[in-house]
Symmetry: C2
Subunit: 635 residues, 2 copies
């Protein structure tokens, strides 16, 4: 028999906080188009324009302001890399319409172990994205209101849980909420860059007035290749978040691949234009990198003026987008962990959806770990950022290498031949060689960047990630081992089922006092078996006497055992008696313990009632042959 | 059938932290003698000698140092009051050998409402005792190590939970732990006062060298009766804690009343001698009240010298006793709330004992509320202390008034006549009039003190308590109303039991996959009823196909329903199906839902398994006619 099923909405505080539960049938409507897709998945990538140029300047500053001329060339190289990676990912999106994150592509083409490395790299990076982007948003707020410095950790954690709540409401609504600030930022930045370029061309763009002092080393370094590489690797922060769309294809409306692919190209284009524009203007106005004032702020107040509305809007938009960037991680982390969980490398709960059709376990796990990171690193961006990006480039490399391998396999198919593999369909493609070269070259580039990054940032914190990723992989394997060994031990192969319905079925009915609830439970207990014993723990002599008297009337002839408890212990005497019963248990015999449980209509009334069934369950569930049944009664 | 029962010791982290569970039979050995009794119940009262004299000086300072001469006379009056209260309580202890706290005495003689007021007053006061005494202990530590000021709240809460843990281990062990510091304090103080008096008599006692400056008002007040009354009421802080023993008589070894009574008199004597001695010497050495240096410290360094060992010992002992004072509340709060809970005015759980034979719910509740208070008041003694003591004197008054009323009843018995009342036995007593006068006079005195206290401290915070006590009483009444109305609605009077075993018994068996655990659950389900339906939610198509195939082999012909769930919701389709089944339910019909539940051997493995039974329980227990049974399987 096969049935379609819908979802019954329960009414409680969750409905109020996260919205009423959605019917399963609503799920297709929970997918998003290109417009909202850009907002949900691009905020991370786009937000990096707010700091990428500045990160390059910071490194170049070691060689004095004379080296600042390298910003634009380095930015050009990065945009070139961006183009390669974007095209490479565009191919992935079409090859994997059901979601082609690094994990899936690696799994299908490079094997499970490699996939786990990619998965670990990405998951750690999503967590870091939340911690870093929210911390840097908070840092922006603090540079405006320094008196809030003391509360930075509280603020950051507040934002994390604010984002969590919005995301628990569901992807569509969170998309709508996030669309406004993302587009607000994009428009503000385009206007700033556009007006800046116009003023530059008309010669009206001056230099920054009173730029913040450069914090340079006492002895100036010369411009070495290592320095340029270091600056380049810092600037590649601009690429983080580019993979987000390929992980989240399933969130898009049909035709998914097309929608997702267009969004990706759109995102890359916006990112490239803004990043190049900012880097270019930065050089022209003579902006300097500083902890006190961001380069964006210097640019904005040079293009417009310090007290113009545009300046204020620019700063506000940057702050908001930095915090919003965390949302990309909130969209992708739960999705990826759900995929890893389906393969049984993460707890099964991450695989299921909640009433709002989102992966709430994943969302809450992400928020918890990110909060922990923020507390440990005291919301300091400087201490968090070196941990960031190694993982991203590791997963970039694996994903594109996997794609290259896939084209190689496709190249060896006969024309017209089609092979179904685990996650996707391999179909002969005449352009396989070109496509393989594109993905292969992308993989090579990102591998090189990853190595540059790991080397230049090693002592600053990249080493933490190089320890973290194997640890996460080890965790995946432990979880998997548990599930596989469990499945093996529970397997019905070679299992000789004991004969059903053999053996005695003893039932113990717990009686604290004799009332309608007890009567109901007694009725249930007698349905279970003929062999029922009522058990009462004598906490108070008068009460026990009442139980004894009433049982004579209402007990239906069932035997009543009264357990003494001179020191008012409930569980002690009970457990002892059960132990005694169990010790005389024969093979195939089952003991059911029936507990009448009052279910209060008001939640707080629960505090006024002991939940004996729960307490028994905690103590006894590990003993085979016992079933604890709570018979609820309501008034 | 009647059985004696012992207690099976489970082995877990609790055993490690709180000690192995005690057998019920050990309970008598958990009682204590006079020596440890004094340490457990007197630390609160005795610790007040550390600050009572100083509190008087603080008030007198308003009229300049000339008014300090009033300290000794005021102290004499307070000791007189102490003597009256102690004798009065001694009578109570003998009249109520099973514990004669204010609540019980009021309940038996003045009625339930009055008793609730006394109970509320005492419980709030116990909470305040913990907050005040630990905060003042921490203040002592901070005056030695000012750099710890920032961490005062953490420190205070740390101490609260340290005390909680010790108390969860049980009264006897905590007694042993507390005996050392209490006696250390008593001995150190006796030596200080003794040596001080000796030096005074031999003329060797000088004045305080460099006393701290007095913080006096700019315009000196004159010594008015109100000022003296205010000083007196501040000094009555010395009496707080005197009632502790009468609440805790049951903790004493037999003969309880005698042991408790002797301990009370001993405690009062020590308290009187120390308090008078300190007040006397304080005047002689010209000590001044100050937030910077306590009077005890000034006394100690004048009697010995600043760098003597004795001085250090004195300060250490004072700090420790102040923190220990909280222990009295830890001993009495749970005991009193257990009594109130037995009368159904507080949650029933407070009435039961834990494996270590202590009232753990009460202990933990006390710690929680006290921690909250410490956080709210930022561990500030000055802000907490005015809340304190109104409640104590209120309960003193009610308790002694109750006793007076009791003697009045006894006075009207015929010689030799005996009447059993709820908590105690009324027996003719020739000296009833004298005893009534003693208790009545005690009640009058403490009533007057309470009024003085409430008036003089009203604006400083006493008003909070005057709001709090009625609130607590209202809570008692709400809880009681819930229990009584529940009992009425569950009553079997006029209840016509439905015929047992009528109606259909449907069983739904949840199947996520088919394995040995499922087999066990199926066997159980078929024992329950002939009418079993297996239900599987199709989260993954391949998995569902496997279930369908395996069920053909292992399903014993039981019908299998597969619920579609395209969006990987588990609960949604399930609840919906159950709802459908329920809608066709006839009267008298019962639905049992059997859930196979894996019980992992390692605790952390629980994180890897969904507990479907718990989730169903949360959603469905409020619906009548459903029983959820989890059939555990272990590997």
């Amino acid at each position: 028999m096969h049935r379609k099923a819908d979802h019954r909405p329960p009414r409680d505080w969750r409905a109020w906080l996260f919205g009423p539960p959605l019917r399963t049938a609503d799920a297709p409507h929970q997918t998003i188009g290109k417009f909202i897709g850009l907002a949900v998945f691009a905020s991370d990538a786009l937000s990096s324009t707010a700091y990428a140029s500045q990160e390059i300047l910071f490194i170049l500053a070691a060689a004095g302001s004379g080296a600042f001329g390298f910003v634009f060339p380095i930015s050009l190289v990065i945009v070139g890399l961006l183009a390669i990676v974007a095209v490479s990912y565009e191919q992935t999106i079409h090859a994997y319409p059901d979601g082609g994150g690094s994990y899936i592509v690696s799994r299908d083409n490079l094997g499970q172990t490699t996939a786990l490395i990619a998965g670990a790299a990405l998951l750690t990076d999503y967590i870091l994205t939340v911690a870093v982007s929210i911390s840097s948003g908070v840092a922006q707020i603090i540079s405006a209101f320094p008196q809030l410095f003391e509360y930075r950790v509280f603020l950051a954690i507040g934002f994390v849980w604010f984002m969590t709540m919005i995301n628990l409401r569901g992807v569509k609504e969170s998309g709508a909420i996030f669309a406004i600030p993302t587009y607000f930022f994009v428009i503000t930045m385009f206007i700033t860059v556009g007006v800046g370029l116009y003023k530059h061309l008309t010669g009206a763009l001056g230099l920054v007035i009173d730029p913040p002092e450069i914090e340079v080393a006492k002895t100036l370094a010369t411009v070495t290749p290592f320095l340029l590489l270091h600056a380049f690797s810092s600037g590649t922060a601009a690429l983080t978040g580019i993979e987000a769309i390929s992980d989240g294809i399933t969130a898009f409306r049909e035709p998914r691949s097309r929608n997702a692919g267009v969004t990706l190209i759109l995102m890359a284009a916006i990112l490239a234009v803004l990043f190049l524009g900012i880097s270019f203007l930065t050089g022209k106005i003579g902006a300097t990198p500083s902890e006190v004032e961001t380069v964006i702020s210097q640019l904005s107040r040079t293009v417009f003026s310090r007290d113009s509305l545009w300046y204020l809007l620019g700063i506000a938009a940057t702050t908001v987008i930095l915090i919003m960037a965390a949302n990309t991680a909130f969209a992708d982390f739960p999705r990826l962990s759900s995929i890893v969980a389906r393969d049984r490398f993460l707890p099964r709960q991450l695989f299921l959806r909640s009433g709002r059709l989102v992966f709430s376990y994943g969302i809450v796990s992400l928020a918890l770990i990110a909060s922990l990171l923020i507390i440990v690193f005291q919301a300091s961006v400087n201490r968090l950022i070196p941990l960031y990006a190694v993982g991203v480039f590791m997963s970039f490399t694996l994903s594109q290498a996997g794609m290259a391998r896939r084209w190689w396999k496709i190249g060896h198919l006969k024309p017209g031949e089609t092979v179904r593999e685990r996650g996707s369909t391999l179909k002969h493609d005449r352009k396989w060689l070109l496509k393989m070269v594109i993905n292969g070259f992308g993989a090579l580039c990102t591998l090189v960047v990853m190595i540059i990054f790991a080397v230049t940032k090693f002592i600053h914190g990249a080493w933490v990630v190089l320890i973290l990723i194997p640890t996460v992989v080890a965790f995946f394997l432990t979880v998997n081992r548990h599930y596989t060994s469990l499945a093996r031990r529970l397997s019905l192969e070679n299992f000789i089922g004991q004969p059903m319905r053999a053996g005695r079925h003893r039932v113990l009915l717990l009686v604290s006092s004799v009332h309608r609830g007890t009567w109901q439970a007694l009725a249930y207990a007698r349905r279970l078996s003929e062999d029922v014993t009522a058990v009462h723990v004598a906490l108070e002599p008068e009460e026990s006497e009442k139980v004894r008297q009433k049982w004579k009337i209402w007990g239906e002839g069932v035997r009543l055992v009264i357990l003494e408890s001179p020191y008012r212990l409930l569980m002690g005497p009970l457990l002892n008696y059960i132990e005694e019963v169990l010790s005389s248990q024969e093979s195939g015999e089952i003991l059911s313990i029936v507990v009448p449980q009052f279910i209060p209509s008001k939640k707080w009334h629960e505090l006024l009632h002991t939940n004996t069934a729960d307490a028994l369950r905690e103590r006894l569930l590990s003993r085979p042959g016992i079933v604890i049944t709570e018979v609820p009664y309501q008034v």
